[in-house]
Symmetry: C3
Subunit: 326 residues, 3 copies
């Protein structure tokens, strides 16, 4: 699988599929963000539903356990009045020897309008998108260590809501960026929208090498220096396997060196935003006082995630469905 | 966790949340029962659906395996036209190190109108209710050995349907009352609605101590004496672990001493009702002739459960959603 | 359990339940096929939904892992606007000691209009159908080695679409017919609709004995002879357990003797149809060139499956629901 192919699969204003944010234009990202703003308002009403996707079908195909992302896509689809089908399976049990492309083509034959895929293999959604003959949109719900585009879009929506345009902002991403599909997608989105600085903060063992420099990202191994004067701090979830492995000395040591406590927040700009994609490990990568403190927008991120997924489904499933199939 | 806090969380006519039946007024219980009567009629029609909760969201968060209760809440929500999201997970896999309150607050950020919680820890729904800032109603779908309020409400609805007012009735609850959240909720409901006698029948090892006397419940270790002249017999499901443990001698012995067979039914009043929350162990706590016999209302209990859950969701999710969030 | 009872449970034009195709009249099959033709057109539209089953409830009770069939029934129900409840469980975890009939009667008490059952025991749906008192239709989604009627109906729909009437066609079914509920249902359907020849092709260890001769089916142990001049080739999925067991020598040997490669396809009639119920084992029972080749209708089978399940649900759930319960 080659996840480095361009994420836009046709030349139109909007991508046909949302496979990643690498190579997606600022215009496309902004169109999704505007659509999401509209749905953000809906969320505060008693009747949170629209008929936008009535009669359309969304299939959530999740090969990794995920409560948060699956629930968010499911609810987004239902509030758009789509019929939503969940398929949660380990690769082995679902496929029974069937190839990945046979699985995908079989689902396509059930005539969905969007197929949301989470898969442990980087590039699995790209392979799926290339295999489809129909108008069905493929949306990457997180693939291996590659990309998680809707997470980055909801982060950008949250930042914009509090800080205005991304252009000119300084953003620090703290933690295991080397293995994080969330960080990858965030870097592409922030870079495309003109962030002034993108800093990666963490131990050498958890920092990516080439990609970082390629997009002008700065790497900091010292957390205090890395957070100096930033407008936004994005904490990454620490995978406990890394700590049990050799990459990180110990949980306590990690927190001392890279954990976000109130003192570190003070180093950032006034009114810094503190973000986390969840689920949080309190006391490992973030202190409870900070997670629950005045700068935290961790819960609004979740609500914005719903709006982003409604926007993505509505734009990609509706646009495709309204024309004739390709 | 302290499940003994009052189950009504505000002073209004109806509880804001339904965490248990302890401390819930007769007026509140009766309002739910009346609402359920209306939905009971709907169940017999070809089109069993109303638009009452269109645009509202119900999340079923089930940390224990449950087909019956989960299905009942899911169908209740759907027949009210709500969007229903099921999350079934063992505590470990869902949370991935996340705290219970972070899980709950994350789901709240998806802006549901009701959150139905089943959890192996007594008090988990109470903790959740206290953590929520929004109008979202928390409904206890069974927590540890604490309460299972909708089960008791459906039992009361079933009794009323056949016997009229609860006041003045003699009810025997037979089995493992010490560990039964079903029995606890039943005792509160029956006591609040003025049952003449509430009897617990079972071996000493399975009888609660303080709580029983506190609410004026009588304990019988002799089944024949305990069933004498009662209007309603509620059998509890015997957990097979108790039999394999030391609390109960053997399956055969348990049936001989406490199982409900036709001879024991004869000791009760004419037209006694025989009830069981399911799933039944035929031949352990109840004989097949009785389960399928003329006094059994075990299947109507299931149908009434649907009506009760429609009533609870409709009252708590609609009332909350129609006003401004707290 | 006695799966050999007649699959039609009442004398009306349409069966009350769809338990199998054995004994179902050509008129009944044709009525389902005509209904499915109508839904086949709907599938190509942007809004693929009808209000036909609004307010009705479909419960999918799946005791065996199944992505394809469960998804197909779920989506069929949703596109008919029914409320669909999925229950996926191993027999042990669902029942908790409960009998099969108590499980079924409990679900019936939730007042569904159709109950789709997949079960590892042959005859389980028949037992369920006999236990129900209400108008609820039971639909067999595959039971043990007995029948899988909707699979055979979608196969017949696919053949008709390309070849016109079944009468006069020569059809070869290749593989483990002895253990295949798919093959059993196909044989009944093809026989009832007047196929000219039904051939079973495979090693002696995987061929049924009595049933085959009873319906005039011819058995071929030589694949080249068996495929000679047939209009339709239906490949069966090879269960890997058979290969690991003694029934089949090895995967490579099986493919050499019975696998469908381009040379074998040449032996069949011009414009032969190549079919497979999925999931496919490429390189075991079918070569990739054939699966993806010009004669393959394997993906249209999936789409037709949706139309067949919409037809079956609509005919059985609607007809029943509109009258008074039996």
């Amino acid at each position: 699988m080659s996840p480095s192919q361009p994420a836009i699969e046709d030349a139109a204003d909007l991508p046909r599929h949302l496979l990643g944010l690498e190579g997606v234009s600022a215009a496309s990202i902004n169109r999704i963000l505007e659509e999401a703003q509209g749905f953000r308002a809906l969320v505060d009403q008693a009747d949170k539903k629209t008929d936008a996707l009535k009669g359309r079908t969304v299939i959530n195909l999740f090969f990794e356990a995920s409560t948060r992302t699956r629930t968010s896509f499911e609810l987004a689809g239902k509030r758009l009045s789509a019929d939503v089908i969940n398929i949660s399976a380990s690769a082995s049990s679902l496929q029974k020897g069937e190839t990945w492309l046979d699985t995908v083509r079989t689902l396509e034959a059930m005539t969905p309008d969007a197929l949301v895929i989470r898969h442990p293999d980087s590039g699995a959604p790209h392979l799926a998108a290339r295999a489809l003959d129909s108008h069905c949109a493929v949306i990457n719900g997180g693939d291996g260590t590659h990309e998680h585009p809707t997470q980055a879009l909801l982060d950008v929506l949250t930042i914009q809501h509090h800080k205005g345009p991304i252009a000119g902002l300084k953003v620090a991403i703290v933690g295991d960026a080397a293995h994080s599909r969330v960080a990858r997608s965030q870097i592409h989105a922030l870079h495309t929208l003109g962030a002034a600085e993108i800093r990666l903060v963490g131990p050498k063992t958890l920092m990516p090498t080439e990609a970082a420099t390629a997009l002008g990202v700065q790497v900091f191994h010292d957390a205090d220096a890395g957070l100096e004067n930033v407008d936004v701090i994005i904490m990454l979830r620490m995978q406990m396997e890394r700590i049990r492995g050799a990459a990180v000395p110990s949980q306590r040591e990690y927190f001392r060196l890279y954990g976000l406590d109130p003192a570190r927040v003070e180093r950032a700009a006034d009114d810094v935003l503190v973000m986390h994609p969840g689920p949080m490990n309190r006391g490992v990568e973030i202190a409870s006082e900070v997670a629950d403190g005045p700068y935290s927008v961790i819960l609004p991120q979740v609500t914005n995630g719903l709006a982003i997924r409604m926007a993505v489904l509505n734009l990609l499933a509706r646009e495709r469905g309204s024309g004739s199939p390709a």
